[in-house]
């Protein structure tokens, strides 16, 4: 049984506190930031350009895909999530998941109402 480990004298060791959810502090370098910054500006230009073309149903899809991409790189690099513990990654994931639950489940009602408006 787990608690059969001999009971030791209580001691005070800060290292005990380091739990698996801790990630070492990673310093993102300016070069990396600059790359991301460049990509973001590029994407902005791209999405504005795409908006001037008539892509049919793809207009909103392209625009949102680009927005998602931009959002993801901001989260990963500017917000350091790429170098963070799994806990933070899951937290971010949980947030967007609940957000999607709100949207999709609400829309499931609106879309399936008998016709058009209602």
């Amino acid at each position: 049984m787990a608690h059969d480990i001999p009971h030791e004298q209580h001691f005070h060791d800060p290292a005990n506190v380091t739990n698996p959810e801790h990630a070492e502090h990673h310093i993102v370098l300016p070069l990396e930031y600059s790359f991301v910054f460049g990509t973001l500006l590029l994407c902005t230009a791209l999405t504005v350009f795409a908006a001037t073309r008539d892509l049919g149903v793809f207009n909103p899809i392209v625009a949102l895909a680009i927005a998602c991409f931009k959002g993801v790189i901001v989260i990963l690099f500017f917000m350091h999530v790429k170098y963070q513990s799994n806990l933070i990654k899951m937290t971010v994931g949980a947030g967007f998941f609940t957000f999607l639950v709100l949207i999709t489940m609400t829309l499931s009602d609106y879309i399936s109402r008998a016709w058009g408006l209602w």
């Binding site: 008998a114 016709w115 058009g116 408006l117 209602w118």
Partner: protein, 363 residues
């Protein structure tokens, strides 16, 4: 009995005479609802009994006196699986059964007789097709499916007849419907069950179930002169609908004959069935769904016709199965004085329009 204080005595008398434990079953759906209800009560009782039995018997068997030293137990996957799967199974049965019931109550049969109900703070107004109006009351015959088409003029209300086990929300700006078939003549409660402001609790009334004969008598005794469709026809004329909806070759709007119940193709390619709700929307928010082949030129009548007026129009269009009447209306439009258009209570149009309720549109 003089030694019993009069208050207690009154209370006892009331108890004996005025005490209900279960609502009457006065519609066809009621026994079905009750069957599911009792099934659920039974499951709950069994579940509750099990829980209580477990607690009391363990409490007795393993009280500290009898059982001074507890035996540590991890758990038991088998047992835990049992009490996951059995309740889940039972709940799923309830789900399926409940859903069947739900769809039954909210899917009116095709041959149902339609009554319109308008809810407003704080009264119910029922409109029978023959033009009979009732406030806070509803007369219905037995043995005939009745569909209620319900709408609210202001806030949410809810039209509830406990004895029939049916209830439907009256939603502002949108038709909802429910149906029932009454079985037992009598007078039953009609409640507004959605909180709707100050006099919510006074928004009540009676549902009077009559035998078909009595119902006919009642119908004859309470006609208000013209049927809904007749009112609708008058409105149709006074609002100049026929300026566009006519049979002339250059008509700007589609013919409305037989439009009710038909499948329409919208300009977006979507296919929809023209039901009451669609007709209402087509009048109030026409550009919301443009019929294929037509321009979005129909003006909105939002704010110009009362809910009752819309009902009249809808009822008129529903019964329109040829263009004959419309042509007549086109002719008579010119006879109407200017400015009559915007009111529900248009004066009775020239005598030509007065026909027997049934004969007038169904030709």
């Amino acid at each position: 009995m003089s030694h019993i204080s009069p208050i207690i005595w009154q209370f006892l008398v009331k108890w004996m005479t005025n005490f209900a434990l279960f609502p009457p079953e006065a519609s066809k759906i009621a026994p079905q609802m009750d069957a599911l209800y009792f099934f659920m009560v039974l499951v709950s009782l069994v579940g509750l009994t099990i829980v209580i039995l477990l607690i009391t018997s363990f409490s007795i068997l393993y009280s500290k006196k009898r059982h001074p030293v507890a035996v540590q137990i991890e758990g038991s996957t088998l047992l835990e699986a049992t009490w996951t799967i059995i309740p889940l199974g039972l709940f799923l049965v309830m789900f399926v059964w409940g859903a069947l019931l739900y769809f039954r109550i909210y899917t009116p049969p095709a041959n149902a007789m339609n009554i319109y109900v308008v809810g407003k703070q704080w009264m119910w107004k029922a409109e029978h097709p023959g033009g009979q109006h009732e406030i806070n009351a509803l007369h219905v015959p037995t043995g005939r499916p009745i569909q209620l088409t319900i709408i609210s003029q202001d806030v949410f209300h809810s039209f509830s007849i406990p004895a029939f086990r049916v209830k439907r929300e009256a939603i502002p700006g949108r038709y909802t419907s429910v149906w029932f078939e009454a079985t037992t003549p009598g007078t039953y409660h009609l409640f507004c069950t959605q909180y709707c402001g100050t006099d919510h609790s006074h928004m009540i009334g009676d549902v009077v179930v009559l035998t078909p004969e009595d119902y006919k008598k009642w119908l004859d005794g309470s006609t208000s002169g013209s049927s809904l469709a007749q009112n609708g026809e008058r409105l149709f004329a006074s609002l100049s609908c026929a300026a566009c909806h006519n049979t002339r070759p250059d008509a700007r709007g589609p013919s409305l004959a037989n439009v009710y119940g038909s499948r329409l193709t919208l300009s977006s390619g979507q296919q929809i069935t023209a039901d009451d709700a669609y007709l209402r929307e087509a009048i109030l928010n026409p550009s919301q769904h443009i019929t294929q082949g037509y321009a979005p030129i129909m003006p909105t009548y939002q704010g110009q016709i009362s809910e009752e007026g819309v009902i009249d129009l809808v009822e008129y269009i529903k019964n329109l199965d040829s263009d004959y009447r419309v042509q007549q209306t086109t002719a008579s439009t010119t006879l109407l004085p200017e400015g009559e258009g915007n009111t529900t209570k248009a004066p009775v149009a020239p005598g030509a329009n007065q026909r027997a309720p049934q004969g007038m549109v169904k030709q």
